[in-house]
């Protein structure tokens, strides 16, 4: 069994799975259940400043997007930070940490964008012996209207400023949680780094309305006939999260900055993908909210199994392995030529590849009267749409042509040399090859 022990910012946890700051980590009761189930760490539900806590709506807080069998694909929430008094949360955190010293316990914090507010809360958090803090600059709903959460995360200067305060008044690791509701995630990440952040975590949830009730015309979730945008999460957001993580991992300004990956982690495979794109660990929420804490058994066993198969003995060996392969479009090899190939033995003759190619793509699949579908190499640009719509796994594959073969589409021989857009003759900005 591969060792899943993770050392993230010097914080050790028995596996790389932390529960993200969210409803599952709002109370001692839940967190104890999570640790008993085997979770590596938790980021406690976001704490607010001392005083009367925030209040939540008293109607639905969540909306969902489903697959056909009500498989939950995306979840949206309009819940705020913890609505329990600060001191209650701090006492519980201290108790839990004392009882589970081998697990990571991180305090998520969101207080007004004033130095005094941060200076006031940080020593109180430190007293709990929490392993670090996460600055919630991500929540896109409710708190952002009050100048917190995503309202901070959308202004790199604020991120840098607050991070700097935190590094000044707190001596354990500081993680900055980023909002995806921005145009270029590298800017807030760089700001966090400049402010002295030990790591960033991302993504927080995405602005969303899950649906509209077509009888009442209220957005969902609906509170007395009105709706407000919520934060979207769950399996549906994973591709967005992976891309943002990869941008930070490969950008010059932020390369090497530790990342805690968040966004739709549902199975071990998702976790492995986040880690390969540079994350030192992952945070999970929606999957736990959907299936309960027991999924940790699959998450840990699956990752361990895969690592054993591949011969990796520690998480460190996986971190960032995919990062060198993330590049700009302009550096993709334009001399790489593939053709779709349909395995006739596996084909079930549904014709989806044909409809997709004929109606919406390159007319590169033929259909015979007895429903035999074949690729027309002269037309195929290897777009992969047929593969994507085929209901049979591996029935259609993209087969690379070998160097020297004649591409029937262009009539030209496949060039063995790598060549990209930067040197392509059609590019007016092309540099002469050296």
């Amino acid at each position: 069994m591969a060792d899943l022990t993770t050392n993230f910012l010097g914080i050790s946890s028995p596996n790389p799975y932390w529960l993200a700051s969210a409803p599952p980590t709002d109370k001692e009761y839940n967190v104890r259940r999570a640790f008993e189930a085997g979770w590596g760490g938790v980021v406690w539900k976001t704490l607010g400043a001392e005083g009367p806590p925030v209040v939540n709506v008293n109607g639905p807080r969540y909306g969902a997007i489903y697959g056909a069998d009500r498989r939950l694909l995306g979840l949206n929430n309009i819940e705020l930070i913890t609505d329990r008094p600060l001191e209650v949360n701090l006492e519980e955190m201290a108790r839990v940490k004392a009882d589970y010293p081998d697990r990571a316990l991180i305090a998520s914090i969101m207080v007004p964008c004033e130095e005094a507010a941060w200076k006031a809360i940080l020593p109180r958090v430190a007293e709990t012996d929490a392993d670090g803090i996460e600055l919630n600059f991500g929540c896109p709903h409710g708190m952002s209207e009050r100048g917190m959460g995503a309202a901070v995360g959308q202004v790199p200067e604020y991120i840098e400023m607050v991070t700097r305060w935190c590094k000044q008044y707190y001596d354990r690791p500081v993680i900055v949680k980023l909002t995806p509701n921005i145009t270029d995630v590298r800017k807030p990440a760089a700001a966090a780094k400049n402010g002295g952040a030990d790591a960033v975590s991302l993504i927080n949830t995405i602005n969303s309305i899950t649906s509209v009730d077509l009888d009442t015309f209220s957005p969902e979730p609906s509170i007395d006939g009105k709706g407000s945008h919520g934060g979207y999460c769950g399996p549906a957001v994973k591709p967005i999260a992976l891309s943002m993580v990869s941008e930070i991992a490969r950008a010059e300004a932020t390369h090497g900055l530790p990342i805690s990956g968040i966004g739709g982690v549902t199975t071990w495979r998702d976790a492995a993908e986040f880690i390969s794109l540079g994350c030192g660990n992952v945070q999970v929420c929606t999957a736990a909210m959907t299936y309960g804490f027991k999924i940790i058994d699959e998450l840990t066993a699956g990752l361990s199994e895969w690592m054993d198969e591949k011969g990796y003995t520690s998480i460190d060996q996986v971190i960032g392995r995919a990062v060198p392969n993330v590049t700009d479009w302009q550096y993709l090899n334009l001399n790489y030529i593939a053709k779709a190939k349909i395995d006739q033995d596996q084909c079930i003759k549904c014709g989806r590849c044909y409809a997709a190619c004929e109606d919406t793509s390159h007319q590169a699949i033929s259909m015979s009267s007895d429903r035999v579908f074949e690729v027309i190499d002269e037309e195929c640009v290897a777009c992969n749409l047929c593969v994507d719509v085929c209901p049979v796994d591996s029935c259609i594959s993209m087969v690379p042509m070998t160097a020297g073969e004649i591409d029937p589409r262009t009539g030209k021989a496949v060039d063995p040399e790598y060549a990209n857009w930067t040197t392509h003759p059609n590019n007016p900005m092309a540099k002469a090859a050296e």
Partner: protein, 444 residues
């Protein structure tokens, strides 16, 4: 108190009323909305879908399933009814395993087709239970068409003609319309008096009247109809039954399976319907399976289907055969009846093993006796009472693709017409298509 399965002879009340009620509930219970959503999601929306090609009425199956996916079962029902006004019955009785579901690509892929039949029922039930009729008549043409026979072909023809603005008078021999939907189909496939409810719903289009007790060749004649109406559509079914060529074929306890099925369908109280302890059904088609399963459900102790050829040759699909087997019906193949034995009433049947040489079936000499206090003959129906002067094709009325007979102004469809598979769904297609041709002819 129920008599029990072991009571000898042909008696009623073998099972308690509760047992009978439970036995005759829906073979395939309707899908609940969530089940339908899950089942519909399995459809791949194939290009030029093979299921549509396989459907005799060309229902746009991927479209109606997508409409279910999209939360509009009523629109799905409309899609079905546009092609097949008896889509509700077809959803229940079509041998989907040899039609749309056999063609489904998921059948090829995983041996588990999309449940097209049940989805069709889900959609058509939604429309029909709303009570609303989804079609309106076109402007009246002033023409009137006579339809002879109120079975699936006649009803489909009448509905389409009425929709196109013609008036229709249906002449029906039996006291109730519906034809084999009412009198002939397995009760466990069409529960809760669905056949009559479907006819009532269909007639809501308006412009169709039904004259029951109207018998062609007796109370009305083809010439008379041609005189009184602008066109005639014959959908008279197969009223005759083949005779059993065996010694003792007239013994008490021997009867036609179609009559037995009709009795079951028309029974107000199944506990009053007699059935043998040892039932032998002669034949290999769907009627044989229906009669055998019904006997079993009524409480017969032993039920045997005796068929003269091998299993592959049976008219009943493999699915139907398995259905029979799962109800405890024994299927004997390659045997033919030679004698029904018994004093006064049937007690045994003697079957001879058969052999096939170059397609010719003959008795092989060896015989076996099977206890049989009731023998049900399901050896095929024949055309009976067809008007003189109509050209025949084999034993059926010869028709063109559009259902035209050899006589001007006379169309025919359903089981009485040549071609087709003697299925409800083919009858509907033939009735509908003949209506279109009648309409085209009358519109000239």
């Amino acid at each position: 108190m129920a008599q029990g399965q072991m009571a000898p002879g042909i008696v009623s009340g073998r099972l308690s009323s509760d047992e009978l009620t439970s036995n005759f509930t829906d073979l395939h219970p309707p899908l609940a909305p969530h089940e339908a959503a899950v089942a519909a999601d399995r459809c791949y929306f194939c290009y030029d879908a093979p299921c549509v090609t396989a459907c005799p009425t060309d229902i746009d199956i991927p479209l109606f399933i997508r409409q279910i996916q999209a939360g509009q079962p009523r629109a799905a029902g409309q899609t079905i009814f546009e092609q097949n006004i008896l889509g509700g019955m077809c959803a229940r009785v079509c041998p989907t395993e040899t039609l749309c579901e056999e063609a489904c690509v998921r059948e090829a892929a995983e041996g588990k087709p999309v449940e097209i039949g049940r989805l069709q029922r889900f959609a058509t039930d939604d429309v029909m239970t709303s009570g609303e009729h989804p079609f309106e008549r076109a402007g009246l043409t002033g023409k009137t068409v006579a339809v002879v026979g109120a079975g699936p072909a006649g009803l489909a023809c009448a509905h389409r003609l009425a929709m196109l603005g013609h008036d229709v008078v249906i002449h029906e021999t039996k006291p109730k319309p519906g034809g084999l939907n009412e009198y002939g189909i397995a009760a466990y496939k069409s529960t809760n008096n669905f056949a009559q409810a479907e006819v009532d719903w269909l007639l809501k289009i308006g412009g169709i009247s039904i004259e029951t007790g109207s018998v062609l060749g007796e109370t009305v004649s083809l010439d008379g109809l041609l005189e009184a109406y602008d066109a005639v559509f014959l959908s008279i079914g197969l009223a005759g039954v083949n005779a059993l060529r065996a010694q003792g074929a007239e013994t008490d306890g021997v009867r036609h399976a179609v009559d037995f099925i009709s009795d079951v369908r028309q029974a107000d109280d199944l506990s009053h319907l007699p059935v043998g302890r040892n039932v032998v059904v002669i034949g290999g088609g769907m009627t044989a399976v229906d009669a055998a399963v019904k006997s079993k459900l009524l409480g017969a102790e032993h039920v045997t289907i005796a068929y003269r050829r091998d299993r592959e040759a049976m008219g009943a699909s493999r699915y139907e055969q398995d259905l029979a087997a799962s109800h405890g019906v024994r299927i004997m193949c390659n045997v033919q009846p030679v004698a029904v034995l018994g004093k006064g009433a049937a007690a045994e049947i003697e079957l001879e093993y058969t052999a096939s040489h170059d397609g010719q079936l003959s008795g092989a000499g060896d015989t076996v006796r099977v206890p049989a206090d009731q023998v049900l003959k399901a050896i095929g129906q024949t055309l009976e009472g067809a008007p003189e002067g109509l050209e025949l094709d084999g034993n059926k009325i010869a028709v063109s693709a559009a259902g035209r007979t050899s006589l001007n102004g006379v169309w025919a469809g359903g089981d009485c017409a040549a071609g087709g598979d003697d299925l409800t769904v083919t009858a509907v297609a033939e009735g509908r298509d003949a209506a279109m041709d009648i309409h085209a002819t009358l519109s000239v």
